[in-house]
Subunit: 324 residues, 2 copies
């Protein structure tokens, strides 16, 4: 069982790598479970902080580089987790970069996999940013993507290709549309949703942070623990269960920013909320307001994907996993 | 006012060209109407049968050829009608050809238009083949594309890009998802829907034809007259009216194959139906059965797009326009 994680140096990629190493085996596409012999963690920079493990191969390279990706695929690969992406805010500000990484590199990866004798399971990190705009507030499993960002557009296109390549038997794909992942460790990034982690993470560590959106802004959340569980679940689902539609709106929970801060106070003390400066940012608020805050994800729940119980649990898990 | 029709040698392209020449002027994107000074009809082969008109420039070339397309765009262009495509059956049988023409050439066209100082109105011939599969029978304006063919996938992707390029102001796009166009003149082609024209066209001319699907198969139809009217209407709609969603499910009518044949008999005599041989084709029937037969196209009707009254009218128009 050889596995590649693209975008493996990001926090989700590393968390997934750790979980796979610990699990030790994987049932690719529902087939008999096999021990993991090699886990390639590929990203622009070498992934740091992963354990010394003979199964682990940490590599640095550009996912746009056809020669590099082709070389990676010369040895048979059973499962690819494709998490590499330019984040939403960056893809909006730099159109060409977003198109190259989020769209063209993904198309190239699919094409290279099509040429292989053994077609891998591909789990793609898509995004709920494919929805938004003028539609109704509640997103169903059959709601049309109407992305209001180039990032969302690029993700929605890869979702479509993943379905067609799977239908034709070129790959065995599964695209998971991720809610906003909260709480991310580390520093704020250029994702438009970065604030949703910052307003929990920074106060918990006694640091000031700013909130660029109003307190009644609703967000659709999933924790890092649940999302990596869901990545692995997606890789192990039998293709038959998925049928022809390989695009899955992951389950999450809908909460307001105020509710998140209330949970922060419950878990860590009322004084933590005083570390948050309310600094409305019209650019970020305008984008966040186009995100639909409510989803009905019957299909994902039927397929066994998991969501969190409450924000309080998400905060407690973050403290245990990242701050302990 | 300079206009380009890509795929202009096909029957719809030529019909559109004739209508534009007759109309003489166009209100691009709802702006003040301007006389048409040049109408470029571009296709793989030189369009035949168009009138001798000094405004007309008939050209042959490959839409995949970047240099040729770039050359076409050196002079300012106000409106592009993008009808060039590898048809559904062919794109299913030759994956690479379909990807190159239907997807990559369209992406390249959008990129070349992005580079222009003056961003053109682009009317794209998308298709109701972007829908299908396991979803409900009735397609709403916000139903997710779930194409069951590579052709449908490629069209759905261009629809998404057209929205994003329009949102960013790189173009002013409008994608029309065409129902099955009936009755097409000429000969059967490799489109999976080719039979829907053949069962009317051939008997009307005293020729035998075969019907590869069962009589109770439902199809979603629009006539050539209405679709060229709708192309021009799309080009003239003010961008404001469209808002951010530039993808439009065109209105049509739902009829069974049997109802089509009944109308044929009414218009041309009962004996015409005896020229149809029922020869079930599992490949074609399996694809046609994935097409949703029922649409609710409120948005298109609100925007002023037109449908036909009944199959009888469609057949009578065909006789008048093509057989007279």
């Amino acid at each position: 069982m050889r596995i590649i994680i693209f975008g493996g140096a990001g926090f989700l990629g590393k968390k997934l790598a750790l979980q796979l190493l610990k699990k030790g085996e994987l049932s690719a596409g529902g087939r008999e479970s096999q021990p993991i012999s090699q886990l390639v963690v590929f990203d622009r920079t070498l992934a740091e902080g992963l354990p010394d493990d003979s199964r682990l191969k940490i590599m640095a390279g550009d996912i746009c580089d056809e020669i590099a990706i082709r070389a990676l695929l010369t040895q048979p690969v059973d499962v690819i987790f494709h998490l590499a992406a330019v984040v939403s805010g960056e893809a909006e500000k730099n159109f060409e970069l977003g198109m190259n990484v989020n769209l063209h590199a993904s198309m190239q990866l699919l094409e290279l996999c099509r040429e292989l004798d053994q077609h891998p399971v591909i789990v793609f990190a898509s995004s709920c940013a494919i929805f938004g705009g003028e539609l109704s507030e509640t997103i169903r499993d059959d709601t049309a993507p109407t992305p209001q960002s180039s990032y969302g557009t690029q993700k929605a296109i890869v979702d479509l290709l993943l379905n067609d390549y799977s239908r034709r038997g070129f790959i065995d794909g599964r695209a998971l549309r991720l809610p906003t992942i909260v709480v991310r460790p580390g520093k704020p990034n250029a994702a438009t949703s970065s604030f949703a982690s910052s307003i929990i993470r920074e106060p918990l560590q006694g640091q000031r942070t700013s909130c660029p959106v109003s307190g009644d802004t609703k967000v659709w959340l999933l924790s890092p623990r649940r999302v990596t569980d869901n990545f692995i679940h997606a890789a192990e689902l039998p293709a038959k269960k998925l049928g022809r539609n390989r695009n899955i709106n992951l389950p999450g929970i809908t909460v307001t920013v105020n509710e998140m801060i209330d949970s922060l106070k419950e878990v860590a003390g009322a004084d933590k909320a005083e570390l948050i400066d309310w600094e409305p940012d019209a650019f970020i608020q305008s984008i966040v307001l186009t995100w639909p805050p409510q989803f009905v994800t019957e299909r994902a729940l039927d397929l066994g994907f998991q969501r969190d119980g409450a924000v309080r649990e998400i905060i407690e898990s973050f403290i245990k996993d990242e701050l302990a």
